[in-house]
């Protein structure tokens, strides 16, 4: 299993500013994922972050708005840039757990609840 922690757990930010969210995993993982959950909505994949390569962004998400770092196999950051109230969401980090090369689990962090005023 993998235990994921995120910092901060919540924040209230002013529009136009940026916030960097940290995701720490207690084991080495190849793939990490960032999701967004807007109020009352489901989860939407923002990007996939593999160590040693550029993050792959889903349609509707761009690197200038959501830059991602993946410096090693246990850590990643997601920055929400030039925030607006529409960015108010829960941001979740996720990893795939593997056994014998097969994916056997998906683990989610507790989320970062962001409010933009």
């Amino acid at each position: 299993s993998a235990v994921i922690s995120q910092k901060p757990s919540r924040d209230i930010c002013q529009r136009g500013t940026s916030l960097t969210i940290q995701c720490q995993v207690d084991s080495q993982v190849t793939m990490m994922f960032w999701y967004r959950q807007q109020p009352g909505q489901s989860l939407t994949l923002i990007a996939t972050a593999n160590q040693g390569s550029e993050a792959t962004y889903e349609s509707g998400f761009v690197i200038d708005k959501f830059p991602i770092s993946r410096p090693n196999l246990t850590f990643s950051t997601l920055t929400v840039s030039n925030m607006s109230p529409e960015d108010s969401s829960i941001y979740l980090c996720s990893v795939s757990g593997t056994s014998g090369g097969e994916v056997v689990e998906q683990y989610f962090g507790p989320g970062t609840r962001l409010t933009v005023t």
Partner: protein, 114 residues
Amino acid sequence: AQSVTQPDIHITVSEGASLELRCNYSYGATPYLFWYVQSPGQGLQLLLKYFSGDTLVQGIKGFEAEFKRSQSSFNLRKPSVHWSDAAEYFCAVGGSNSGYALNFGKGTSLLVTP
């Protein structure tokens, strides 16, 4: 393209009654299927998952789900609902085609009445 449809946005059941939440998926390869539950203000909790093997999957809290490839469905069931089951339920699909990232349905909100 992969997608998940949860046809029911809201469902209301009486405590003690049986429950079935519907989930239909579209996926170009063998899917990995999940059901998650989220209580208000809480994080995601995995109820159960299907990767391969027995198509009837048992999960936590007395939930089960059945994978039906011919119907592209993965419906969640519980024989007797408890008031504490009131929450938002998400079905999700993933697999090697998507790099194991998950595509979530829009969710079904469950209300349990006395």
